[in-house]
Amino acid sequence: MINYALDLGQTAKPEAVLFYILAPLAVAAAIGMLTVKKAVHSAILLAWVMVTLAIFYIAQDAAFLGIVQIVVYTGAVMMLFLFILMLVGVDSSESLTETIKGLRWIAITASVGFGGLLISLLGRATLGRSTAGLADANSNGNVEGLAQLIFSDYVWPFEVISALLITAAVGAMVLAHHERTVKRVTQREQSQARFRSGSLAAAAGLPGPGVFALHNAVDVPALLPDGSPAPSSISATLKARGDMLDSAQYQLDNNDNAAEDK
């Protein structure tokens, strides 16, 4: 017999519509987070889950938390994640091959068991009364109610958390700091080294990308005066990513002929 004991009272109809639309989207985005290959896509999907949770908070009379969720999570935390992704390299998408054999199936089976246990327990739990609702607690406004609690009953945890924030900030600075082991090369020294390397091409610096008058873009190697392409004019990142266009199509003799044909 299925026991719907945790009858917490019915919510208003608009909220039910909101929930039934957004909850499947949130779950789909969360599952997508696990299956997409690129970390950036995972981050975008996670940001979406966080936005839906913020909407749920606001729907549940927790307006302040909803706003904080958007500002802190989708704003600050996700920005930090994306920033680190850029720093570490967007290309470092992992291979989805398993290092431990069968790990994925074990994980999925275990999680189905865990989730089933959690949900069936929730389904059988009893509260003994219906939802109280926050109309009384929020009678002076949600922010005022929270402020009153934080600065009376929860003032000690609040202070401890402020100490934690400062410690975390200092810790991150210590971890990110890195001591220079060799002396910094100045611009003057770099310039002198270029001239002493012997080659005149090195002394002049690298050519800029783009082909004059025919095609102008950072992904096309520049043409040297004799019409041959100069691969050194392209950023190494673009080259590694394979985004470099072939400049043969823009070479002088090819295009001269084409112009004459027209």
Binding site: A16, Q60, A76, F81, G115
Partner: protein
């Protein structure tokens, strides 16, 4: 709609986050899954706050958010440090102690 549905959603998101922590290899994605689990727990705090008719649950959720922000700052700094020394953000490559 029964308010318990929020709790079911929270349990589901928590489970998905746990699977992600186990199966993904990129440390940053693993970290994002931990964030998902924290968010799922927050949803149930907010729901219980509403069920019980007082704001204590929302206070706890608020504190969780602050702690999660601290955790992200330190965790990402650790990931960057590991990346700097090992040129990889995969959790499988951080196995120096095993050798």
């Amino acid at each position: 709609m029964n308010s318990a549905n929020y709790l079911y959603l929270s349990a589901l998101l928590f489970t998905i986050g746990a699977v992600g922590v186990v199966i993904r290899r990129n440390a940053i994605v693993v970290f994002m899954c931990v964030e998902l689990m924290l968010n799922a727990a927050n949803l149930s705090f907010v729901t219980f706050s509403r069920i019980n008719g007082n704001l204590d649950g929302q206070i706890v959720a608020f504190f969780t958010m602050v702690v999660a922000a601290c955790e992200v700052v330190v965790g990402l700094a650790i990931i960057v440090t590991i990346y700097r020394s090992r040129r990889s953000a995969s959790v499988d490559d951080a196995n120096l102690l095993k050798r």
